[in-house]
Assembly symmetry: C2
């Protein structure tokens, strides 16, 4: 029996993972990786941390956890895998099961045969229609070399005014990496808020509020038209609304799947623009597998195809493909769009569908915004977090959750993603046995607490307005009482300036019910929503018919983009 | 319609939670709490943090998150709940639906009527059969006053030699609170390791190894017989194996449910010794509910009744009882025994069954020990963790997981607990969509990675010995090769001293296969298990028939209690 030829195109994440798994399962296979770039198996996700100086040594980005560089020699000696860097695959000859590749330095062509072919061709950054992108000082974050170039400019003290175009995960990781009180950092976003499509607009706006207070400049709903420069170096970003000084511009407007090779070979490309694969990660040619940033995935909630290029999928799919090219039958079932981000001291996490996405898909939903602590409030490490939860109304199935805050949110989102894998409902959530001790959690986990609040809302026990809705009611000039039940000190620190605001602390409410107008709608408000909820129940209990409270309290009070 | 009388006995956690929920749902109910102690609604779990000085203000332990003391006045004004402190319920007259109570100061008796009675009578600390427990300097951690007394002694500098008897959660939280390089702290445990019944012995021992290196003294398998003192103050702890100097002794040998009142009223008590309740938290008398530390719970995996007094259950059950005493039909489905602990810089978490428990219950199991990083190894905040996972062999159902380390483990255990709620399997685990970014996770989550390793083990792809098994093989004098594939530097830092150890780095293994004896069993070992696994696959691929690797590498190398 001659040994099986496994040929892998792409050496960043998905390919090497596939190779490693295949090698363990089939010691006799001939495994070859072709990579057109210089580095293989590198930690693209680590680039922002190298930029920020958190990772000092560039080599760490392509070393194993035990400090060995993952270069072709490593792959040969430790894995028994042949790696060709600087070798670009240019066509697939499916009939003869071979790939034609070209040495990017010499131009020399070379043929590689395969029994099983694996496409891990990745993605490429979108180049937006902006003039003068070839000026010096304009960067992308795609290759390790990009990170080195930016880092050198930062370290040389050449960079004072950074403009980042695009505020998705990559854009915001770039913000985190370059933000410093010594520089002006501006983000320009074509859509209305930070992290569009990742967070709902209300959450994106609340997140920006925090960043703005730290000094980040945001330009939203603004389109970059061109860059201007002097002596070949960028000096200005010109948008449809004005101009921004810039001596460095980072482009982060997203990526597209690299499907040219697959498409030219006649493999099926999906509506998302990425390669179609089945749950075994097979393309329309059963001897050709594809994975990572070049394929589309199935959304586990909606069943629809989505393009979601995430490192974790590439890695997990690598194991599945490694199994299957060596005779296994492993499956990758789909995704929920879970994502986490650390930026400027804030934790951001989301999974499932946002409110906007869910409504657009036709779901009949209910949602709630809750402000709470990430651990017992008396613990010195406790921090506030904001959670937004979305469920389907009739089934009470969890559809999505988003969290932001200085406190821990990633854990809660992982638990939600686990529930959603099982089609979990609100009632399940209230029965989860999650770990509690004061340094880790509140006695009732914040996400469970959020679920309880949403259940109250669904069952009419809690009648609420979102902060956004309250803001709109005020703006419309509606006649109602905004009853602030905080302490006078809390009120004085920050409150809504309006004649319709009335003050009564929760403690005095029961005794001073006669001071609350019985003929008007009452909306109670406090710091985080807890006392306002309590107050609303007291008023309803006392016979007030038209009472609501404001979700998440002043913590959730919207930040008006127009104010800035 | 006269208003419903809801009478609640016990004012620590479960009772006040019930009252708050009931009040929100029924504004007309007469809600009364009887508490024999001085404080109500206090954060018992916060006491260790007050002791350690992390929480400065004693009042924080019984204040709301917005800084208001939860005293009877607060309950009256904000909740409309009547609270009687220093009021001990002494009997239940079920026929006439009334409770006789006694003022603990005046001895005066008083009758309280009820329509629905709620027992939140909690637990009491076990008093072990040790002589002279009444000496000064002997403490418990049950009441807020206990914390104050110990804190005063610590602050006065009177405490140099602390002995903590019992190493469950409370004992270890006490260790965390009082441990300091300025004092000698010794734990005495009747069983063989730390956290018996909470962690498996191998995990408990690995945890103790870390604590021992920091300076904690452990006495295991040792029984305290009596205390000795001078001038009425404790000076020594005498065990069946010796004596320990002590100027402070903290008793933490566990708690028992407080069921006297229920038992005398003829309510059914379970085999666990706690009050029997159904999923609505009703006792054998449908008008009497019970919750929190005085009831038994159903284990969701085994279906068996267990006694698991945890604050989080008390709180969540409070909501269920609050619903049901006001006409609702909420349920508390059961528990998984999830627990987390922070002690001396280590995170500890567990859920489900331990290996020992699972085997005792007759499960046919497989388990694995994995050492890994809690986030990308190149991130400066990354830390090592050890995870032990247990599954049922034929169903591959997750039965339990335990984690210890400086790194994040609580998140992983929450995810596992969520899976186990749904009866999740290893295959589910490999398909979870958990959040990844370098500051939060590895591209493949540590628990998913552990699941993959266990799957490899079940499917014969990974053949392993646990570190304990390797140690036993060496001790038995078996003839085999312990092949250490680490770098020479790593080997020199710490290795197993034995003639059977052979050195070959993973990188040179493929070329030097002829140096590996073909006629002996080979056990590969490295730092954390990854390279040893790789090496085992290389050897198997090269035709070596009898190859295994050591799980978790030197990170999991057992600590011999007898060495100390």
């Amino acid at each position: 029996m001659s040994s099986k030829k496994i040929l892998i195109i792409g050496g960043v994440a998905a390919g090497p993972k596939t190779a490693a798994r295949a090698r363990r399962l089939d010691p006799d296979a001939q495994i070859t990786i072709l990579e057109k770039g210089k580095y293989i198996s590198f930690a693209g996700c680590g680039m922002p941390f190298y930029l920020s100086g958190k990772i000092h040594d560039f080599d760490h980005l392509y070393s194993t956890s035990y400090g060995v560089k993952r270069d072709p020699e490593f792959f040969k000696s430790e894995r028994g895998v042949d790696v060709f860097t600087g070798m670009e695959a240019i066509s697939i000859d499916r009939a003869n099961k071979r790939v034609i590749a070209r040495n990017v330095d010499t131009g020399e062509e070379r043929v590689f045969e395969y029994d099983k072919l694996v496409l891990g061709t990745g993605s490429y950054p979108i180049t937006p229609p902006i003039e003068n992108l070839d000026l010096k000082g304009v960067y992308r974050l795609n290759h390790l070399e990009d990170a080195q170039t930016i880092k050198q400019a930062l370290d040389a003290g050449e960079v004072n005014d950074v403009v980042i175009i695009g505020t998705g995960f990559i854009g915001m990781e770039a913000v985190d990496a370059v933000f410093s009180p010594m520089r002006t950092v501006t983000v320009v976003e074509f859509r209305d808020t930070l992290l569009p499509g990742i967070l709902d607009p209300d959450m994106g706006t609340l997140l920006y509020k925090n960043f703005y207070e730290q000094g980040l400049e945001g330009r939203f709903g603004e389109k970059v038209l061109r860059l201007e420069g002097e002596d070949g170096r960028v000096t200005k970003v010109i948008t449809d609304k004005g101009s921004i000084d810039a001596d460095a511009v980072i482009l982060a407007v997203g990526v597209r799947p690299n499907v040219k090779l697959a498409q030219e070979a006649g493999l099926t490309i999906g509506e998302t623009g990425a390669i179609v694969v089945n749950e075994y990660m097979q393309t329309s040619d059963p001897d050709i597998y594809a994975l990572g940033d070049c394929v589309e995935n199935t959304h586990l909630l909606t069943g629809k195809k989505v393009y979601a290029p995430m490192a974790t999928y590439a890695n997990r799919q690598g194991r599945v493909v490694g199994d299957n090219v060596t005779g296994g039958k492993s499956t990758f079932k789909g995704i929920l769009g879970t994502g986490v981000l650390h930026c400027m001291g804030m934790n951001v996490a989301r999974t499932g569908l946002g409110e906007v996405q869910a409504r657009a898909l036709g779901y009949d939903i209910e949602s709630i915004l809750v402000a709470t602590f990430d651990m017992t409030h008396y613990h010195p490490n406790s921090n506030k977090i904001l959670l937004k939860m979305i469920v389907e109304k009739n089934t009470r199935k969890l559809l999505g959750i988003q969290g932001i805050g200085k406190g821990e949110v990633a854990k809660r989102i992982d638990v939600a993603a686990t529930m959603m894998y099982y089609g979990g409902t609100l009632d399940d959530l209230l029965n989860l046995d999650l770990g509690y001790a004061p340094p880790y959690n509140t006695p009732i986990d914040p996400m469970v607490h959020t679920g309880m609040a949403l259940k109250n809302k669904l069952e009419g026990v809690a009648n609420t307005y979102t902060p956004q809705e309250v803001k709109e009611k005020l703006a419309r000039g509606e006649d109602f009482v905004l009853l602030d039940v905080r302490t006078p000190q809390q009120f004085n620190m920050r409150h809504i300036e309006d004649d319709r605001v009335q003050q009564l602390t929760l403690g005095e409410l029961r005794e001073k019910l006669d001071q609350v107008p019985g003929d008007k709608e009452i909306v109670t408000v406090c710091v985080m929503g807890t006392r306002a909820y309590e107050a609303s129940r007291i008023l309803q209990g006392a016979g007030f018919k038209n009472v609501k409270f404001m979700e998440a309290g002043m913590e959730g009070w919207p930040f008006d983009m127009d104010d800035f």
